[in-house]
């Protein structure tokens, strides 16, 4: 019996087909595509893959397949885009259970009717819930509401051997059992295929105000940044942006809530930022987007933003490239963007240089996306604390190394 036939049989509602060039993952050609519907069908597909020792990789809308390292092989793409739906929205409990293939935008649309939202920004347009969770991608609102991992109360996934497992629950407070949702969040599909996620929600803010100030260089940023971090303005987000490595730096505070409070707090933010301040009700250009076609994620202490900006400026000059920076100064996650013209040597120099500088600050730099040919000579993940323990976790969850092999840290 052919693999394709077995995959078709496993997808009673969904379907299976031979892969085409369009199904390649970061330059690696796939053999088959299965599009199951529901956790049980995903499990049946994964059991077929297990029986035939196929390597497999989950795909939502395919917006972040080129993140991390290319997989060493992809025999089967498990296409979850047919699994879209809000299975449950308990409005009074501010909880929603969602299928992994649901686009984030569709979820937000469904929740908005009840005056609620998942307080996560859509950094990559078109992202599905599964992809969002698998990459642990959070945006500006993380400052007030927490990262994606902080908003998950329960998760269902299919193990490499085709067993369906659940952790957590649909109540917002629960400490029964290990928190596997956190383990799976940001695991890039290497521990299991996420099929359903339960989120805690927040009420939609009725009013929002973006307060922006621009500074000549990063040194001038230190005082207003610390003032904002230590203030009572309670911004939902505090974003920094710099289009040119030595150009002016913009700091934008987002203040949300009821009208009266927002007015008072926006005025407070304007005072603390100082200088020429502009206030708008709509997000400034580039808000909650990733810069560049090649993008680095730089994490450091929340107070280290000026130091990171200085490092990017100096290293850009040293390696003859022109990186832009955008990200969450209120959290300590900045994204460094480069255009398609960047030379591989310059990129490597920038990344290595940044890691050297960040090490002293307790930070790290990960290359989220870059041209596939550059990855062969560049360690996209960089040094990883606790790697040996991570390998042991992988060995337990996926002993045959069939889930997105090679995509994650240390070749996991």
């Amino acid at each position: 019996m052919s693999v394709l036939f077995e995959l078709e049989r496993a997808c009673t509602t969904g379907h299976a087909r031979p892969a085409t060039a369009a199904d390649a993952v970061d330059g690696v050609l796939a053999s088959h595509v299965a599009a199951p519907v529901g956790s049980d069908e995903v499990a049946a597909v994964v059991r077929v893959a297990a029986a035939h020792r196929l390597s497999l990789l989950a795909r939502g809308s395919g917006t972040k397949l080129d993140w991390g390292n290319p997989p060493t092989s992809v025999d089967l793409v498990v296409d979850l885009s047919g699994m879209r739906g809000v299975l449950e929205h308990a409005t009074g409990d501010l909880v929603a259970r969602v299928e992994a293939g649901t686009p984030l935008a569709a979820l937000q649309e469904a929740l908005s009717g009840a005056g609620q939202r998942l307080p996560v920004d859509e950094l990559v347009p078109g992202s599905t819930i599964g992809g969002l969770v698998a990459t642990g991608l959070s945006g500006p609102c993380r400052m007030l509401h927490g990262a994606v991992r902080d908003l998950i109360t329960g998760l269902t996934f299919v193990r490499a051997d085709g067993v369906v497992a659940r952790s957590g629950s649909k109540v917002v407070k629960n400490v029964a059992g290990y928190d596997l949702a956190r383990l799976l969040t940001g695991s890039y599909g290497t521990l299991g295929i996420i099929t359903e996620v339960i989120f805690r929600l927040r009420p939609l803010a009725t009013h929002r105000r973006y307060v922006a100030a621009t500074f000549d260089d990063e040194r001038q940023l230190t005082a207003p940044l610390q003032a904002m971090l230590g203030s009572q303005v309670a911004p939902s987000a505090l974003e920094v942006g710099r289009a040119q490595p030595a150009g002016p730096v913009t700091l934008v505070a987002l203040v949300e809530g009821r009208e009266a409070g927002v007015t008072v707090r926006a005025a407070g933010a304007a005072r603390l930022l100082g200088g020429t301040v502009s206030e708008t009700d709509t997000p400034p250009a580039g808000w909650a987007t990733l810069p560049g076609t090649t993008t680095l994620k730089v994490s450091a202490g929340v107070g280290a933003t000026p130091a990171v900006l200085a490092a990017v400026r100096e290293l850009g000059a040293e390696h003859g490239c022109s990186p832009s920076v955008r990200g969450s100064a209120g959290v300590g996650v900045l994204y460094v963007g480069l255009g398609p013209e960047v030379a591989p040597g310059a990129l490597a120099g920038l990344v290595v240089g940044l890691r050297g500088r960040l090490g002293a600050l307790g930070g790290n730099a990960v290359v989220l996306r870059c041209p596939a040919e550059v990855k062969a000579s560049l360690d996209v993940w960089g040094p990883v604390k606790g790697l040996e323990l991570m390998r042991r976790v992988k060995a337990q969850f996926d002993p045959d190394r069939r889930l997105a092999p090679g995509r994650f840290v240390g070749g996991i």
Binding site: T91, G92, D93, L94, G136, A147, V163, V164, A165, R166, S167, S169, K170, V171, V172, K173, N174, V175, A176, Y178, D179, L180, G186, L191, P203, T206, Q226, L229, G230, S231, Q232, V233, A234, R258, A260, G261, R265, S299, A300, G301, V302, G303, A304, V331, L361, G362, G363, N364, V384, K385, G386, L387, L389, M390, R392, V393, A395, Q396, F397, V409
Partner: protein
């Protein structure tokens, strides 16, 4: 056999690595460690080590691992699920001597702590700078950060601020194989790789021992407002809770007490809650003054709409403390009205609270067993106190039956068996009611990755241990779970 080994060879080996001063072998001294906050379960530990450093812990764990002897970590011993219940055939590693605050870094909003530091000491260290540590379990004056990490402790204010897991950014741990490993982002926001910190927090001491903890400090709120509202019954109070949440208000805490809990608190601490109240709500709002003031008005309005017959606002810290006094004393207070009681920790979806409370009342009526209700109404975390007199024939069994039925009720409403106290030994037998065999098996894959020999706090969380398969390249000691028969604990 095992006992002789412990007091003999193992004690000698431990003495060599930690010194005489850190090792407890005297039987009467060992007895003082026989239980944690779940005091009806008692086991005298084989040996106790009072660790002074992560090096001590590493050396002790490595010694245990080499000998295949189980070990249990203990902070201040305030846990309510028996998570730190010792093993007679094992070593209890106590962290309460490790109380140094290693760093307070306000610019990066972090503090680095030894595991024995008390929860409240962290907030005290941040206070001069206007910062604090958000998770606030009721035992915060004495409970340790290491214990908080193990149990993923919450507190009244986790409705708005989340639990320990939302505030720990990095750990140094000693693995059950005796390795010292740093995990997590520490001072940074994120680190590449699996979220091992997220997996470790709340693992109830079964994946290793935290020897250094990095936590996030938060800016102390500008304004805190506390309101006490009295209602005729819990239905009316529950209705007020639902409409506050539905209106989009996010209070820092919403607590409820029913008539029996109020009368116990009154007897114990004279909290002077409004006379004749069938239920009281305590609602606390915090944040920028510009937002708290209108939200407080809104909350007051919702309470009145749902029939609150008296509302008090705390005008200052002293009045706030008085409002909280009754709530915080409630567990201890029921000791005044009942010789014995069982504390439950189930969680239900907030909107089902009125139904669940009615069903609890019916269970109480049918069985003749009183149940006092004190709970975190905002997040549906019930703390029914099931009252009984152990001296009365058959009453304890009936109380346990009521208690078990309440847990089933929580699960039937899609809830959880524990919101903050942990599974420990107390609720391990209930895990299969909440999770499938496959779910539990999957969780234990994580256990096997960290503790293939099953020597790290064995017998907790899971009703039956999974025997970990041979992992290539890793030596396996004798499996003590085979010999020791963990099943006898249940």
């Amino acid at each position: 056999m095992i006992t002789r080994d412990l007091t003999g060879r193992l004690a000698d080996a431990l003495r060599r690595v930690v010194g005489d001063d850190a090792l407890v072998t005297d039987p009467s001294e060992l007895r003082t460690y026989e239980c944690d906050g779940l005091s009806h379960l008692r086991v005298v530990p084989g040996l106790v080590v009072l660790a002074r450093s992560s090096h001590d812990i590493q050396a002790v764990v490595a010694t245990c691992a080499a000998a295949g002897v189980p070990f249990v970590a203990r902070g201040s011993g305030t846990g309510l699920s028996g998570g730190a219940l010792p093993r007679a055939d094992g070593v209890l590693i106590v962290t309460s001597r490790m109380r140094d605050i290693l760093d307070v870094d306000i610019a990066n909003q972090r503090a680095v702590l030894e595991p024995g530091v008390t929860n409240l000491a962290v907030s005290r260290a941040g206070a001069p700078h206007g910062y604090y540590y958000a998770p606030d379990p009721s035992s915060q004056q004495v409970c340790s950060i290491g214990g908080n990490v193990a149990e993923n402790s919450g507190g009244a204010h986790c409705l708005k601020y989340g639990f320990t897991t939302n505030h720990v950014t990095g750990l140094e741990i000693v693995t059950p194989a005796g390795e010292v490993v740093e995990i997590g982002a520490g001072a940074a926001a994120d680190a590449p790789g699996y979220d091992l910190v997220g997996a470790f927090v709340g693992s109830e001491g079964t994946l290793g021992i935290a020897t250094k903890v990095t936590v996030r400090l938060l800016r102390a709120p500008e304004s805190i407002q506390t309101l006490l509202a009295a209602f005729a019954d819990t239905d009316a109070a529950g209705g007020a809770v639902s409409s506050i949440i539905a209106a989009g208000v996010v209070p820092a805490a919403i607590e409820m007490m029913d008539a029996l809990a109020i009368s116990a608190a009154e007897a114990a601490v004279r909290c002077e809650y409004p006379a004749g109240a069938g239920a009281v709500l305590i609602v606390e709002l915090d944040g920028p003054a510009s937002d708290v003031a209108p939200a407080l008005e809104e909350v007051e309005e919702h309470c009145r709409t749902h029939g609150a017959f008296e509302i008090r606002m705390a005008a200052d810290d002293e009045e706030r403390a008085r409002i909280w006094k009754g709530r915080k004393s409630a567990f201890a207070a029921v000791g005044r009205i009942s010789p014995d009681y069982i504390v439950q920790d189930g969680v239900v979806p907030r909107t089902t609270l009125p139904d669940v409370l009615r069903e609890i009342a019916r269970l109480s009526e049918q069985s003749g067993i009183d149940v006092a209700n004190v709970f975190h109404a905002g997040d549906g975390n019930l703390h029914p106190l099931v009252l009984f007199d152990g001296a009365v024939e058959g009453e304890e069994e009936r109380a346990e039956e009521v208690s078990a039925r309440i847990l089933e009720l929580c699960l039937a409403h899609g809830g959880s068996i524990t919101g903050e106290h942990g599974v420990g030994v107390d609720k391990a037998k209930s895990m299969p009611k909440m999770f499938s065999e496959d779910d539990l098996d999957t969780m234990q894959l994580l256990r096997c990755a960290f503790d293939p020999a099953g020597i790290c706090n064995p017998g907790k969380v899971f009703p039956t241990p999974r025997l970990c398969g041979e992992v290539p390249g890793r030596r396996q000691g004798v499996h003590p779970l085979h010999e020791a028969g963990v099943a006898e604990l249940f």
